[in-house]
Symmetry: D2
Subunit: 340 residues, 4 copies
Amino acid sequence: MVVVMKGNAAPGDVDTIVSVVTGVGGAAFVSRGTTRTIVGLVGDVALFQTLNLGALPGVLDVIRISQPFKLVSRESHPVPSTVYVGGVPIGPDTATLIAGPCAVETPEQTLAAAWMAKRAGASLLRGGAYKPRTSPYAFQGLGEAGLKILAEVRDEVGLPVVTEVVEASDVDLVASYADMLQIGTRNMQNFSLLQAAGSCGRPVLLKRGLQATVEEWLMAAEYIAQRGNLSIVLCERGIRTFETATRNTLDVSAVPVVHALSHLPVIVDPSHAGGRRDLVVPLARAALAAGADGVIVDVHPHPETALCDGPQALMDDDLALLAEAMATIPPLLGRKPATP
Amino acid sequence: MVVVMKGNAAPGDVDTIVSVVTGVGGAAFVSRGTTRTIVGLVGDVALFQTLNLGALPGVLDVIRISQPFKLVSRESHPVPSTVYVGGVPIGPDTATLIAGPCAVETPEQTLAAAWMAKRAGASLLRGGAYKPRTSPYAFQGLGEAGLKILAEVRDEVGLPVVTEVVEASDVDLVASYADMLQIGTRNMQNFSLLQAAGSCGRPVLLKRGLQATVEEWLMAAEYIAQRGNLSIVLCERGIRTFETATRNTLDVSAVPVVHALSHLPVIVDPSHAGGRRDLVVPLARAALAAGADGVIVDVHPHPETALCDGPQALMDDDLALLAEAMATIPPLLGRKPATP
Amino acid sequence: MVVVMKGNAAPGDVDTIVSVVTGVGGAAFVSRGTTRTIVGLVGDVALFQTLNLGALPGVLDVIRISQPFKLVSRESHPVPSTVYVGGVPIGPDTATLIAGPCAVETPEQTLAAAWMAKRAGASLLRGGAYKPRTSPYAFQGLGEAGLKILAEVRDEVGLPVVTEVVEASDVDLVASYADMLQIGTRNMQNFSLLQAAGSCGRPVLLKRGLQATVEEWLMAAEYIAQRGNLSIVLCERGIRTFETATRNTLDVSAVPVVHALSHLPVIVDPSHAGGRRDLVVPLARAALAAGADGVIVDVHPHPETALCDGPQALMDDDLALLAEAMATIPPLLGRKPATP
Amino acid sequence: MVVVMKGNAAPGDVDTIVSVVTGVGGAAFVSRGTTRTIVGLVGDVALFQTLNLGALPGVLDVIRISQPFKLVSRESHPVPSTVYVGGVPIGPDTATLIAGPCAVETPEQTLAAAWMAKRAGASLLRGGAYKPRTSPYAFQGLGEAGLKILAEVRDEVGLPVVTEVVEASDVDLVASYADMLQIGTRNMQNFSLLQAAGSCGRPVLLKRGLQATVEEWLMAAEYIAQRGNLSIVLCERGIRTFETATRNTLDVSAVPVVHALSHLPVIVDPSHAGGRRDLVVPLARAALAAGADGVIVDVHPHPETALCDGPQALMDDDLALLAEAMATIPPLLGRKPATP
């Protein structure tokens, strides 16, 4: 950390910083400039943070220069990780397609969507039994009945299942049915849920919060990792900006940025990012070309009657284009399709 | 709702809309323009939303023109509400000051902060026993031990207590100690928690999410109201923008905007919005002048050792200025200080 | 400045920094930490910036710790400035009301609006003859004919005139009619225009760009100041955020933030910030309570026929409320109404 | 347009709307709903906009349902356009690489950068002689001397030149040297400049404003088109969001969104979007995969001494990767490299 003093700081103010820091076993190096003095701190940053140096007299700013995440950082673990979901890899050597309906509505709809997904080359099935919805008047999901449908469809179609969990007390139940637990964008900083997911024994798909910086997202992953679970896949799904032409703004830069900061895989959800069917394939292509470890998309056999996010669900024609993108772009980056 | 057709929509596309809408008991009025046709829908909007009209052929856009919230809307309840917390009113006739430490650390610190709050004219005590923190390595609060401290300090100082709850399963425990439950910014869309708070029998302080629109915030309040609890106070605490000079950007317009849309009271948290002590009093003044029903601020007897948000905690000198603002600005708008 | 080295920087990388910095006459202080080394630089920051230190091997980041603006900074000029416009002060001792039509349409409309402004206590008249509009199909202003109308109305009503200039080559013409030149939000970084305004011999009202940080805004003011013109008044008018309930989000915090960083006065435009008549008076109150040196509002005798921004123009009833706010809030902060 | 009435609008309020609209030759269709009445307007939208319907009594909102841009819209011109720059196409059949130094510094640096660009497969040379800079203390470009260097380098290397113009009065001068004029992000709403560019006889590269919606960007293009110049290429270069890990956030969705709304080509600038060398190639790949008609990048023979944006300039190794992306991704979308 670096402590920046105000231009009019008293000489004693710098002395106070030095004595406080050395008092907890750190070292402080003072650089006196023409307009400001700065103090570089050497030692345990976590310890320094409890000192509340910013509140001491004469201090203008305290600048953190190391990353606050540890277990998920690339510095701690330089080789990119591969996470396995029911035997299917998500990592640096592959590009994984996850597809399925936004919400599980009926056995028939889920089964039809799963076959659509499989035909398009998906190796994992997505589908929501618990749906966090902005409106209390919107469809909230089938709950455990939906989990049962997903498990039956998995047995019939042969695709491991990714499904969302919205509350810490549901984690064990969902983990008993699913191969991977999804933590949704609204729950990215639901810390109880993150901690429960850290102990669940299943891989976790952690969506980025609508308003979360990459650093906050990695800190949320750190909550999971801290409980012993490093099988975490990050999912970029669009951030909130002033632009209204798309539902959210896909932050495609997040893919290389996360890869530079963390060893965890990162995939992209072009369906929720754009919110429009016509954008899904172009955004999926962009994500793959930027180096994403996979994409996750909504499919629905009858989007016009979907209970959730019908306007963005892919149909068979779109899936053929997506399959083509999965087959041609990842190989340019040395990746092959993910198969169990 | 209004359905806007594409310029190249087929005549049959409009007929489909009309028949789908009338099929569920609605009425559809077609206006054929020179470049576009629009269809106005009359009937039950919730029903129309399940029709997924946007996915029908020839449809460019579906525009909602009524508000999605009901119980909390001003249309449904034209008179502004007053919420009582341990007998203290928050509503249109008063300006209520809530003050206390960001986090409960020790009995001594909490008691000292409570006396500071009381001397400054606060009629409610804030203080966190459960602290949702971005980093898993930061102080997470004392939990139930902190609740006990708050209850003891309330008995000694005589200020009813507002404290945060972060998980649905903790709601009953927190409600057994506190006079008002706070739902924090990161949990504004934790729908399980909102529903639990809707059944807790205590008034709820609902902070706005960091990147929540006013509409989403009111929809979150609707989740609470739907379970029968209309004792809800909204709290604007800054939104996330591109500006980095302040921690967040206080959206002071939210005060009159909420008052126009909802009958619920709205207060402002200038401490968390700005994140800097020197901004707290100016922003509190602005909030009161914009018509806020109260303000909530951090105070700490020793900010330089605070375990949480020390740089924004007020000290005695600031509190004197804040007390002066509370005494002079609300009367200009016909409000008096809140007392039990 | 502080240079932060990567964790895996080679020892020679630090030596390179030191030799480059000392090579231009600076001094470099090296602090070797457990995970990183940092180098504090002492000397001429402008010189260091040309060194492009961030591109040298082993460098993670270069952190600037002093402010990039000089002439407009409060560090360089600790006493708040007062700017005089046709004899009317805008500064720390007063609260100045500027009012008038968004656009000059006719002599009658301008005159009627000016009398409305004067009756409400305004001491300066605003009105646009050149209107930068998003659409090329919208009313673009009357040009010089509008300037003549403003000059005639000034003579009749006795209020000095503030009007916008949109192009460097028009500065002299506009300055020949107006008492203060306004640079609008879309031109905040039109550097040719800023430089021309710096040489025009008139005070300048510099509106904040829709998505400009406070620092960029002050840098734009620095462009004007650098040409010798320090009669600059800053105007906060709302920034662009994700919120759609208001046209823009008034950043009321900008008032105390600017006052802490700069000696220049700062006023607020609540009409353009909110874009809704019902928000103008509450936001004006908030601005005054936050310590603004004045407010600037749209008035129109017949808003329903206004060629520009009619929905936000105040009418006589609103003006009475605004006059009351001007009379009661500034005195709480030791300010008196501005009169020539 | 659709006029939405307030819930409590008086019956006569609707009648007023109808009579005002029919008074100017339009037609109005009234749909009376259970909670609201809406009025659909049919006729000339530009005319309706001057009516200021939003200011009439009882009106809640006026919703525009047609696009405000005409000449640049895809509705008016369904076939995607190709723009030729010195004989080099930018359009739907090709992917064009534009490369060169951010700023022209010396003949030697510009020439070396141009050869780097050409070796990497660029068919157009970029380079700035006029540099709009946030700080008045930063390098502002060589002006006409820089234009001369660019012209000489064009003659030697054989690449047509794209260069920025920052002021309406410079348009003719710049057009006399350059093959394409660039209007930069800060000038996207400098309407005088747009109009001058509309009459210059050269193709125009119009960068998106940092804070501009896609609609505003297309309206800026409409200003150019309105003066008779339809040789416009749009350039997405990152928008301003809350994320700080990248300088700006590349809005890659803008590529398919613009293609759906407009017939104009759209290219992407990954250098300025990310602001970091390591992100340029991944973002260029993403842009090409999303269907961009080209990319524009910074190259510099010696980034560590560049006077402008050195940290993002590509060097030879990066250029080899970029050339590979240009050769492999566009063919997947049916495009071939652009050559004169």
